[in-house]
């Protein structure tokens, strides 16, 4: 497995008070995303475990995009990847943030 980690500086923090949320399943073409609140509001750390080696640049691009579009501040995000395509990763990240912001 390849382990990647990104520390980002989002401009907006995730709203709401839920401590954690989880979306997705570790299956072919899918991934699970665990979101945990507790980092400083301007920090987002994303840890990834993936069986597909050598795609760090692709992950970086997806994450850059995510952090720009969604309020990811304060979140520690952990991903177990089953070989998902970038658009699925973006979808799950967005779903995850929406879920953790839910009242």
């Amino acid at each position: 497995m390849e382990k990647l980690s990104f520390t980002m500086k989002p401009s907006t923090a995730a709203a709401g008070t839920r401590a954690r949320a989880i979306v997705g399943v570790v299956a072919s073409g899918n991934l699970e995303v665990l979101l945990e609140r507790g980092l400083p509001a301007n920090i987002c750390v994303i840890d990834i475990a993936t069986a597909a080696h050598g795609f760090a640049a692709v992950w970086e691009a997806v994450i850059d995009d995510f952090v720009t579009r969604r309020p990811a501040g304060g979140l520690h995000i952990s991903i177990n990847d089953g070989g998902a395509r970038p658009d699925m990763v973006s979808l799950r990240l967005a779903q995850g943030v929406r879920l953790i912001e839910e009242l």
Partner: protein
């Protein structure tokens, strides 16, 4: 929840969420605990934070119940060390606390990469299940997911006090491919989906007394069926097993020469048995309710 949610399409978390009273579910050893399998890294396989099973407590129409839900999409719902131990612990707790359990099955059986510990886990689960039933506590199985209920999962299901299946559900020990690989395509053509469903699928199991309730592929339907099943009795004792012995012996005696499920359904007196596979739930139930074999608690 007002719109129809397919049980088959939902993942384990979605099923638990939709099955139980809103916001009533509290998970034990949740994914944030990261209790993953210690045995998958050696195969360079991805892990899932809950190791493919969710266990916890919720309420069903206000009644406290313990719940286990297998994720059929993670490694085919196959049972490994941690997955198995979560269920074993839940069943042991159920016995001490006297709380009934719902098991949302979705499993291909033992996880090959953890074969020895997976098999042993299944045996421990069966023992814990039987012990709680001997104490009079119910365990209801819900079967309707993508992976079905195969292998050791089928044996665990056979220890439950009641089973609810949908058309999509399958219960079997050997899978179709395994039978074909070992015994040849004449014995079982694993690509013949209609054959798979006639032999192992929810409708056949319901007709032959291998399941107690037949639900639409809908979370609310499963919820209603679960509520009804929980109104029954879960106790296991010598009397129940004697009755099951008779029930199963009678079944073998009566249908032992059948070649195909349709032979059995014909013998049961089901009208137009060839149509069974294509019938919608309401019409299916109308046609079979007074013809099917029932376990009548002898399970």
């Amino acid at each position: 929840m007002t719109s129809a949610t397919s049980w088959y399409e939902a993942n384990a978390r979605q099923r638990v969420e939709a099955l139980l009273d809103p916001r009533s579910f509290a998970e034990f050893i949740g994914p944030e605990q990261r209790e993953i399998s210690p045995h998958l890294a050696i195969f360079d396989l991805p892990e899932q934070f809950d190791d493919g099973i969710i266990v916890g407590r919720g309420t069903l129409k206000g009644r406290r119940i313990l719940v286990a839900a297998q994720e059929g999409r993670f490694m085919g719902g196959a049972i490994g060390e941690v997955h198995g131990a979560k269920l074993t612990g839940l069943l042991r707790a159920a016995r001490s606390l006297g709380e009934p359990v719902l098991i949302l099955f979705d499993t291909g059986g033992v996880r090959l990469q953890e074969a020895n510990v997976g098999e042993l886990a299944i045996a421990e689960i069966m023992r814990a299940l039987v012990e709680m039933r001997m104490a009079g506590v119910q365990v209801v199985g819900l079967i309707g997911g993508r992976a079905g209920c195969y292998g050791g999962g089928g044996l665990i299901a056979g220890c439950c006090s009641a089973l609810i299946v949908s058309e999509q559900g399958r219960i079997s020990v050997s899978g179709p491919e395994v039978i074909e690989t070992n015994k040849g395509v004449e014995e079982f053509d694993s690509r013949d989906r209609a054959l798979v469903w006639r032999t192992m699928g929810g409708k056949h199991r319901y007709l032959i007394g291998g399941a107690d309730a037949f639900a639409d592929d809908d979370v609310l339907a499963f919820r209603e069926a679960a509520l009804m099943a929980l109104a029954g009795n879960g106790r296991l004792d010598a009397g129940v097993l004697e009755a099951e012995q008779q029930r199963l012996e009678r079944r073998l005696h009566r249908f032992g020469k059948a070649h195909d499920a349709v032979d059995i359904w014909t013998d049961l007196g089901v009208r137009e048995p060839a149509e069974i596979a294509g019938l919608a739930t309401d019409e299916f139930l109308r046609r079979v309710t007074d013809k099917r074999e029932t376990a009548n608690g002898a399970r």
